[in-house]
């Protein structure tokens, strides 16, 4: 051994290099293994679970898709969620747990205006970016800049449901003159009716009937009869699923046949309702967000998503077709994911700025956010149920039974007017 210090130097250098390599590798592995956690509450039980559960399924499909492609920022995505039971009082507790105990990196909202409402103050207080899943006008009071809503209501959420309906009515010749407004004593219908009243004034219609009913009404015949007695040309209904069905059935029994009927009836687009009401739906002009018509089916990614969703839907016990909320839930996650990748990090403010400034490509088309986090341009559709026969579910899989009438960019058919003509 000529120079022992040299050997020890080499040994030391080698050991040092090895250590550095090991440390770096471990750190890298740890980082890669460390998942990105996205937390939320969701209505898995209670009144809104009929939409909450399909939404969850769509989010889970997104997570699987993104993880198959390597995750976000090279890390796998993990979902942490709890059942909010459609009860706003659970929201503060759930999100505090998500943020302070589970230490999630990102949050999104639950489903529905009432479940988003108690979440906004929390997001504002903690300076978090919040993606909202189908809530109407939640941000109007707070005007928080880092809130974004995936429901395509547009800059004026209150008229978003009814605008297409009344525009279509106004376009018909001869122009209808009179209106009957009716809706349930509940959050969404009340909002829709406020918007409807503004539109009635704008288009110069005359209101002959304007009443609300309690949500647990058993029999709608008296209400429908009273409306029929007014002989109104236009009948606008803002209702939740049970009353939508009740009103429609009563309308058939009583023989209510205005020139145009429908408007804001939630639930008619649910597969279970479509199959049980069958041809009773014909002629109804109703709001919607999605339809299996060419304009929507052509958007890249939607066909794969629907195939995936429909395969898993039956086992999950949710709406089998998924033609209402699920594509939007998936799109919401796409926006969030693309923002994370786009800003190459998890900084809440940077993500919010990115979302505000970008037009996203999602499976429901191009998404751009505007004032108060709503869509820059509203896209609530007006559809009409046409030519439905019997009650098989397959007729609803493809185009033609729920024709899009409005807006023009997505129009796939013409209105059958007056309403009575569609009933033949």
């Amino acid at each position: 051994m000529r120079q022992p210090w040299r050997r020890s130097f080499i040994t030391g250098a080698l050991a040092g290099a090895l250590t550095v390599v090991l440390v770096l590798t471990t750190a890298f592995v740890a980082l890669a293994a460390d998942p990105i956690k996205i937390g939320f509450g969701m209505a898995l039980t209670g009144g809104l679970s009929a939409n909450g559960k399909p939404a969850l399924l769509a989010i889970q499909i997104w997570k699987d898709d993104i993880n198959k492609k390597g995750g976000l920022l090279g890390r796998q995505v993990e979902l942490v969620f709890y059942d909010d039971q459609t009860n706003p009082a659970t929201v503060p507790g759930i999100y505090t747990k998500l943020l302070d105990v589970d230490k999630v990196d990102l949050i999104i909202s639950g489903y529905g205006t009432n479940l988003i409402a108690p979440l906004l103050p929390i997001a504002i207080e903690r300076k978090l970016t919040l993606m909202g899943m189908f809530g109407l006008a939640n941000n109007e009071k707070y005007q928080y800049p880092n809130y974004f809503q995936i429901q395509p209501a547009g800059p004026d959420p209150q008229i978003s449901t009814a605008i297409g309906f009344f525009e279509l009515a106004a376009k018909q010749t001869p122009k209808p003159q009179t209106v009957a407004l009716v809706g349930a004593d509940a959050e969404y219908p009340q909002n829709a009716l406020v918007g409807a009243r503004d539109l009635v004034k704008k288009f110069g219609f005359k209101t002959l009937y304007d009443k609300t009913y309690p949500p647990n009404t058993v029999d709608y015949t008296p209400i429908v009869r009273a409306i029929k007695a007014t002989n109104a040309d236009i009948v606008f209904v803002a209702s939740y699923p049970p009353d939508s069905v009740g009103m429609l059935r009563a309308a058939h029994e009583v023989g209510l046949q205005p020139k145009i009927f429908g408007g804001g009836m939630v639930g008619l687009m649910f597969t279970s309702v479509m199959t049980s009401m069958g041809s009773a739906l014909n002629g109804v002009v109703n709001y919607d967000f999605w339809a299996p018509e060419p304009a929507f089916m052509a958007i890249p990614g939607i066909k794969e998503f629907l195939k995936d969703y429909q395969a898993r839907a039956e086992k999950a016990g949710v709406d089998p077709l998924g033609y209402y909320l699920p594509p939007y839930s998936y799109a919401l996650m796409q926006v969030l994911g693309q923002a994370v990748e786009g800003t190459k990090g998890l900084d809440q403010q940077k993500i919010a700025d990115y979302i505000r400034a970008t037009e996203f490509n999602t499976i429901v088309g191009k998404v751009k956010f505007g004032k108060n986090g709503e869509w820059a341009k509203g896209r609530t559709l007006m559809v009409q149920y046409q030519k439905i026969q019997g009650s098989s579910v397959d007729q609803f899989r493809g185009p033609g039974k729920k024709v899009v009438l409005w807006p023009d960019e997505f129009k796939s058919g013409s209105i059958i007017y007056p309403y009575a003509a569609a009933l033949k």
Binding site: K211, P214, N216, D219, P222, A229, V245, G246, S276
Partner: protein, 290 residues
């Protein structure tokens, strides 16, 4: 110009609804009115009956009311079993007041939540040939959807009235509500009689459930809509009087219908309960009570 035809239609709709409300309240009339057991869980059995009918109707296409009739023996046995538990745990020990009420409330809750878990919260409806059809008599439209359940409800009321008035068990049930000791002395076992009565009450509830789901879709929490109606009708009609129950049910149905038509539906239900509270304050024995 006073809308006579609107009024006429509202009255008729109210009458038809009243017939169904009578069927809905028969069980409470017997169990609370005659046996003096405040069975708060009655509406849950109503909805349970509705779901049973739904399953059979969707699975096998059986007419809902027919299915309801077929289920009555099952529910009778269920009712008898529930009473036995109630009797063993509470009546025998003489602690019915507080604990019995709580027991039934817990039962209501369990049934409602179980239905939620099993069927989810989607609205369930039934299919039958006559739904959606109606006919007219002199300008008044009558929907089969309301007419058939109403007729069945009236039949149930009549049957029960005759049963209580004419048959041995019926009269024994009336007797046990008035004087238990005398009944014993006459050789009938009060516990057995009460078991039969309770069973009949629950069976009536389940058949009424079939009528309800024919008229309107149901979800597990629909039971809460009927709690107030059932007890309001029983109290207003007079405890223990089947005829009184029918009259009160028709009053309630007509009031709800008229309020709906002329003043807007929002207040019709609250008004019905207002009637209950007023009746309790002014004449607690009801219209025909003893």
């Amino acid at each position: 110009m006073f809308p006579w035809d609107l009024l006429a239609n509202a009255l008729v709709a109210g009458l038809l609804l009243g017939g169904v409300y009578a069927a809905v309240s028969l069980g409470v009339s017997i169990i609370f009115g005659l046996l003096d057991i405040a069975n708060i869980a009655q509406p849950a059995f109503l909805i349970l009956g509705a779901y049973a009918v739904y399953v059979v109707n969707t699975g096998f296409g059986v007419d809902p009311i027919l299915a309801g009739l077929l289920f009555t023996p099952v529910f009778y046995l269920l009712g008898a079993a529930v009473y036995r538990v109630y009797y063993g745990s509470f009546e025998r020990r003489g602690e019915e007041a507080l604990r019995g009420l709580v027991f039934f409330f817990g039962l209501l809750f369990i049934i409602e939540v179980s239905l939620s878990i099993k069927f989810g919260v989607d609205y369930r409806l039934v299919q039958a040939g006559y739904l959606g059809k109606s006919f007219e008599i002199g300008g008044i439209g009558i929907a089969y959807r309301l007419l058939v359940p109403c007729l069945v409800g009236l039949a149930m009321t009549l049957a029960l009235h005759l049963f209580l008035g004419r048959s041995f068990y019926g009269r024994a049930i009336m007797a046990v509500s008035q004087d238990r000791l005398a009944l014993r002395l006459m050789g009938a076992d009060p516990v057995h009689i009460k078991t039969v009565a309770f069973g009949i009450g629950i069976a009536a509830a389940s058949l009424a459930g079939a009528l309800i789901i024919t008229i309107t879709p149901v979800i597990p929490s629909s039971d809460r809509d009927y709690i107030g109606r059932m007890f309001a009708i029983t109290v207003l009609g007079g405890m223990g009087s089947i005829g009184g129950t029918l009259v009160a049910a028709i009053i309630l149905g007509v009031v709800e219908s008229l309020m709906s038509t002329f003043f807007g539906p929002s207040w019709s239900q609250a008004v019905s309960f207002g009637i209950l509270l007023t009746a309790l304050a002014v004449r607690p024995s009801g219209l025909f009570g003893r």
